[in-house]
Amino acid sequence: MRWSAAEIRCLPTPQTLPGDPETSSLSAPRDGPPSSVSRLLDKRLIFVTGKGGVGKSTVATALGLVGARSGLRTIVVELAAQDRVRRTLAEAEAEGDGEGGERPVPLVEHELAPGLFTISIDPQHAMDEYLRIKVGPIGHALGSSKLFQAFAMATPGMRELLTMGKVWELAQLQRRTRGAAPYDLVVVDAPSSGHGVGILRTPRTFAEIARVGPIAHQGRAIAATIADPEVTAVIAVATPEEMPVNEALMLRDALASEGLSLHDVIVNAVYPSRFDDDELTQLREAAEDADSPLARAAIRAALSECARAANQNHQLARLAAGLDRRLIELPFLFADHLDRPELERLADRLGAGLAGQGHKQQPRRVPAEELT
């Protein structure tokens, strides 16, 4: 991908993102009624997944921006199980770049801008918090027992369950965390497809294995929330390339076997259609006659982009044919890194796409009744 998740995390720090309330587009429609145009934003919990490298974090952040702009109290959740943040931090420290830098404190809901929060969940802290809330003083004793800690962290799937437990807690209308206000929208930057489905399934698996007892109870509650289409949506991010498209299609099937459905597919990094067929012909002819290296290189670059855009269109058509879902397209950004203006632009497009405007509908080559 062209955008680094690490950059996105670095850029909208509290120092830079809120900016001037007058100019911040985030703060604009706070008072109006929440936008009713998008069904996706009617959910309280959205999981963003897809193949590695397609820009999940970018899309999750942009979706958070869209939510906050619509007046929803929104939180973007990063799962520390992905280890990226920890490593980024470790590197920053190693380079002596620690002074004044923002260190995401685990489980702290951090306000980036009016109405937009972020949190990084790690299983260890999630467990401490859970035990404190659920079991009280005994829980506290358990939590500080090294033996118990090791037991819990070694239990397969426990890290995922604890993480999902905290995600679930964030999405509750009545928060368990003392003094915490509820969120209208929780956007989870979930692991890539395979792990993503795994983490969604974990609560149910625990509920089934444990049968009775608190973990079974908790697992069932989380699983019920995930399975409730009124509350929860899973969206896939893909780039219009063979593998990401395959993964999006496989994700749909994997979700279906869990009784879940794919709410939306967001296709990221779509090339512009700069040249039509006539122009393509003209460019090919001009390529033959071009006499300067500069002209040749420029035409060559244009023909390359045409070829890539054509491949992308093919993949888009394949994805559209394979899915009974609308595709929301986000443009390829010709930028060396993703800064706030680019994120805002993506949020504009994403918001419009969710509202069913401003995105090119791909031709559906397969009649709807043939789609399964």
Binding site: A5, E7, G53, A150, E242, R296, I299, A302, Q315, F334
Partner: protein
């Protein structure tokens, strides 16, 4: 230096890198190229694109390598003097096989395979997928007579999972916690038995008794195999650190994959693993450098309308932005360089997921440095 020079005398080639950088394609292209040179090569991959799986005849595959029919490769016009074998790794099945192999007796194996915690959650054990992948590699190395094995590493949450896996799995099994837990008089047994203490009561209160029983069985069974896992992990580590093994880092030229590659290269070196080189896929090359938009438009005016020329210039400008960004990112890979090659594969116009595509990537990887430069210049201008 070409890949063929780099892999001269190697038995194992591990391709590592984060998701979405073309690792599977690169692994397959390397295996194909080495087979063309006359070697008997197997590529072990996790989840190839359907077209690639089709092309290699992987659809009907079991969990063992299979010879790719020479006919399938012939279409691309590459003469393969050796043999190309391919296998698609099924992590769950490989883990099951590993349990069967390492369990002290068939009954223990049966018991663990039937345990609900194992069945439902074993793939969630940190590092288990990665461990099974290298473990499979070890078995292939021992049981078959391949000249070279190419491993396309699993799509880890991060690349370290793969390196850490053998150690992590055994330290988990060897850990004091597990020992205490599974000992007949240990913590777990005490909880399950009568007269458990405050801690036991609390644990039961948190987990529920059924889950605790299943977990206890799981830990006890797996704990009984600790020594076998440890032996296997030590053998795998010996294989990975041998001078006949080469780790190739695969990346794309965007900032985050490059960060990952820099960090991974450092980790490889610190772990004493044989780092062999970096392959950067999908590079936007910039031969001519920046040109003012007006110059570009002027150069095009003979053949194109002003309006079209302006858009071509706009596109060229955008391309240049990407090329410059790639160049800066790739430059960050250089400072740590100790003579290990950095191979660039240009951003090809097609999505590469079939034999023809493999051949296009193969041409770059198996070219000499001079040839590669020439080919890139041709692509660009």
């Amino acid at each position: 230096m070409s890949i063929a020079d780099l892999l001269e005398g190697k038995r194992i080639c591990v391709c590592s890198g984060c998701g979405g950088v073309g690792k599977t394609t690169t692994s397959a292209a390397i295996a194909l190229g080495m087979a063309a040179e006359g070697a008997k090569v197997a590529v072990v991959t996790i989840d190839p694109a359907r077209r690639l799986a089709n092309a290699l005849g992987l659809e009907e595959l079991g969990n063992e390598p299979r010879l790719v029919e020479p006919d399938r490769l012939r279409s691309g016009g590459l003469k393969v003097r050796g043999e190309l074998w391919a296998m698609m790794l099924d992590p769950k099945r490989t883990f099951d096989e590993l349990i069967e192999r390492l369990a002290p007796d068939p009954d223990s194996a049966k018991e663990i395979l039937a345990n609900r915690v194992y069945r439902e959650l074993s793939t969630a054990v940190a590092g288990s997928q990665e461990f099974t992948a290298v473990s499979k590699l070890y078995e292939l190395d021992k049981e078959y007579d391949f000249d070279l094995l190419v491993l396309d590493t699993p799509p880890s949450r991060n690349a370290l999972d793969f390196l850490d896996a053998p150690g992590r799995l055994t330290s988990f099994l060897e850990g004091r916690m597990l020992k205490t837990f599974v000992r007949p008089t240990g913590f777990g047994m005490r909880i399950l038995g009568r007269g458990s203490g405050v801690l036991g009561a609390a644990l039961q209160r948190v987990t529920g008794v059924d889950l605790l029983a299943d977990l206890s069985t799981f830990f006890r069974l797996l704990g009984g195999m600790t020594e076998d896992f440890r032996v296997r992990a030590a053998e795998v580590e010996k294989m990975l650190t041998a001078s006949t093994t080469a780790f190739l880092l695969v990346t794309s030229p965007q900032r985050e994959p490059i960060d990952e590659a820099i960090w991974f290269r450092r980790t490889l070196r610190e772990s004493g693993l044989p780092f062999a080189g970096v392959i950067v896929n999908r590079v936007h090359h910039d031969i001519l450098g920046a040109s003012p938009r007006s110059d570009v438009i002027e150069s095009l005016q003979a053949g194109l309308t002003d309006q079209l020329a302006a858009r071509v210039a706009e596109n060229f400008h955008d391309y240049h932005v990407l090329a410059r960004s790639d160049e800066l990112n790739i430059a960050r890979l250089a400072p740590d360089d100790d003579g290990r090659p950095l191979m660039l594969v240009p951003h090809l116009d097609d999505d590469v997921h079939d034999v023809e595509g493999l051949l296009r990537v193969h041409r770059y990887l198996f070219a000499s440095e001079a040839e590669r430069k020439r080919m890139i210049a041709q692509v660009v201008a």
